[in-house]
């Protein structure tokens, strides 16, 4: 038990039927609801770890949830340092969570 998506039948907001998206995460197919973020798709199946850190090899997942902490960065379709909490999942996205994206970053700051 842990993180999960609220089952549509139990949700007090009474959601209409929604479409699905399927992405490939570290080689495995994962399905989610159309419009979910990549972090949301993974958390819906209780997957919290999104990467491991470069120095301490420590697991990290979503922390701030609004795009400021950069703890949730993953590789999406070959591009590093994509915040999984901010990026909506699209059908066919290829996501890689292994390794510390920040290390290989082409980001300037």
């Amino acid at each position: 038990m842990g993180a999960r998506a609220v089952p549509a039948g139990e949700d007090p907001i009474r959601p209409d039927a929604a479409g699905t998206v399927t992405i490939r995460v570290d080689g495995l197919e994962v399905s989610g609801i159309d419009g979910q973020s990549i972090a949301g798709v993974l958390m819906a199946s209780d997957r919290l770890e999104l990467r491991r850190t470069a120095r301490g090899d420590r697991p990290r997942g979503v922390f701030c949830g609004i795009g400021v902490c950069f703890d949730c960065i993953v590789e999406v379709n070959g591009v590093h340092d994509v915040r999984a909490c901010q990026r909506r999942a699209h059908d066919g996205d290829t996501v890689i969570t292994t390794g510390d994206g920040a290390r290989r970053s082409g980001a300037v700051s």
């Binding site: 038990m1 842990g2 993180a3 999960r4 998506a5 609220v6 089952p7 139990e10 949700d11 007090p12 907001i13 009474r14 959601p15 209409d16 929604a18 479409g19 609801i33 159309d34 419009g35 979910q36 973020s37 949301g40 958390m43 819906a44 919290l48 770890e49 999104l50 850190t53 470069a54 120095r55 301490g56 420590r58 697991p59 990290r60 997942g61 979503v62 922390f63 701030c64 949830g65 609004i66 795009g67 400021v68 902490c69 950069f70 703890d71 960065i73 591009v79 340092d81 994509v82 915040r83 909490c85 901010q86 990026r87 909506r88 920040a102 970053s105 082409g106 980001a107 300037v108 700051s109």
Partner: protein
């Protein structure tokens, strides 16, 4: 035609957009998110319609009305997915934006040179470090809120909400709405301090009674869900191998130092911790706006900052909640749009809700004893994995009292989040370690010439610069 650019489409920015249009100006409303509403009105995407989304929100009808009217207005351009990454003020104001999918490699660059700029960039949670706070399953309160409202994700099934401030209540409420069991809401401040903060001169609260009712509503929700609200307690450590499995809860003294022997271990699968909010100041600092001693943007009666033509509204001028953000946005937008004076009702509301914010700070502010729950190996800078021990050691051995040199020695605050998570904490730790107890700083922790990480390729690609008429007076 006068053009106003507004950064941030939360309550403050939306209100500013409406008011600037009311004053007759053309408006460009930018937000890095692909949805309007900011943090308060974060909602499900259009691809996920529902019968009763309103149940998750306060003021939902007001939001819908604001959003719909702005979307329908041909003289409002709404730029979704527009990340502002730099602001220059050499000759007038220039706002640099990349537009496209979040962190994408192929975003378009745009530059705006408006007659006036309104900054309404809001705030994010401030979470103090504790041992294990970097484990997956430890979230900010805002994260739990954002995932519940924006995705209908429950971050856990057995959850503790902890920290300080009235925001813990809506977080617990949102968790309950996702079917999570909230074991307790733990407020670090003592009941006495909260009662003193809230009830001093209670008549001052009467005009803010809408806000009071909202909080009463939350309290009623907690009773309905049987969520215990306990004061003078904190989560002082999280434990687990690859994710949080349990937390240590301790009773606190009035200064937040943990009371030895009071620790209890509680099994959880998630914990949500928030000790207040930190304003998102990087754009205001880039625009040269003066900050107050408490670290907020200084504005005059018209919400004008110290930089000509640059206004600020919402949480970046002080943490005061949604009603204050809206009142400030109305005033800022109206003046940015070229109107003089007026906005009497917004000014009155601003006064009332500013008083409300002061009470929250008095009742729920951070107390210095929190450093008592740190251990030497506790990570302080999450990005660079710098420990509390390393920071204290550097402060001692270099006798360094400047943030800049401490950062360079330890790398604290130099990671990809650009010090957003640990900047103030590092300042506090250094302040405590320094002899005078105060920080001599030669570098603002908010100074980020590039306000947001960008890809070099995006900067270098000439084809991605949109050529359109954005200069003053051409639209």
């Amino acid at each position: 035609m006068r053009q106003v650019v507004i950064v941030g489409a939360g309550p403050a920015g939306l209100a500013a957009a409406r008011a600037a249009r009311g004053a007759g100006a053309d408006v460009v409303l930018l937000d890095s998110s692909d949805a309007l509403g900011g943090q308060f009105w974060r909602h499900l995407p259009e691809s996920r319609p529902s019968q009763h989304e309103k149940r998750l929100h306060h003021g939902w009808d007001r939001f819908r009305e604001l959003r719909d009217s702005l979307e329908a207005d041909p003289r409002v351009r709404i730029v979704r997915g527009g990340q502002v990454w730099a602001i220059e003020t050499f000759a007038g104001v220039a706002v640099h934006v990349v537009v496209g999918e979040s962190d994408g490699a192929l975003r378009d660059r745009e530059v705006f040179a408006p007659d006036a700029l309104v900054l309404a960039t809001g705030a994010h949670d401030r979470t103090l470090p504790f041992p294990g706070w970097d484990l997956p399953g430890v979230f900010t309160g805002g994260a739990a809120q954002a995932l519940a409202k924006g995705e209908r994700i429950a971050v856990g099934q057995r959850v503790i909400v902890a920290g300080a401030g009235p925001f813990l209540l809506p977080v617990a409420q949102s968790l309950a709405s996702t079917g999570s069991t909230v074991l307790a809401v733990l407020e670090a401040n003592s009941a006495g301090s909260i009662i003193r903060g809230w009830s001093r001169r209670p008549w001052e609260l009467i005009p803010a009674s809408g806000k009071g009712m909202e909080l009463v509503g939350y309290a009623a929700g907690q009773l309905r869900h049987r969520i215990p609200y306990r004061t003078g307690r904190a989560v002082v450590a999280a434990h687990g191998t690859d994710r949080v499995e349990s937390v240590t809860v301790a009773a606190l003294n009035a200064d937040w130092s943990p009371i030895p022997g009071s620790e209890q271990r509680v099994e959880v699968d998630a914990v949500c911790v928030s000790h207040g909010f930190t304003p998102r100041l990087e754009l205001a600092v880039a625009a040269g706006c003066d900050l107050s001693g408490e670290g907020f943007v200084v504005v005059d009666d018209d919400q004008l900052t110290s930089t000509p033509g640059v206004y600020a509204a919402g949480e970046i001028t002080g943490i005061g909640g949604v009603d204050l953000a809206i009142a400030e946005g109305e005033i800022a937008g109206r003046h940015a749009g070229g109107a003089l004076g007026g906005a009497a009702s917004a000014r009155r509301r601003r006064r009332v809700f500013t008083g409300f914010a002061k009470r929250i700070e008095a009742a729920h502010g951070i107390k210095p004893g929190w450093t008592g729950w740190l251990t030497e190996p506790t990570i302080v800078c999450r990005c660079e994995e710098v420990t509390c021990g390393a920071i204290r050691q550097a402060a001692r051995t270099t006798r360094s009292e400047s943030l800049r040199s401490l950062k360079l020695t330890t790398r604290a605050g130099l990671g990809i989040c650009q010090g957003r998570m640990c900047g103030r904490t590092v300042e506090d730790l250094l302040g405590a370690a320094s002899t005078e107890g105060s920080l001599q700083d030669d570098a603002s922790p908010h100074r980020r010439p590039i306000a947001f990480p960008l890809r070099l390729g995006e900067l270098a690609d000439p084809t991605r610069q949109l050529e359109h008429e954005t200069s003053k007076g051409t639209q």
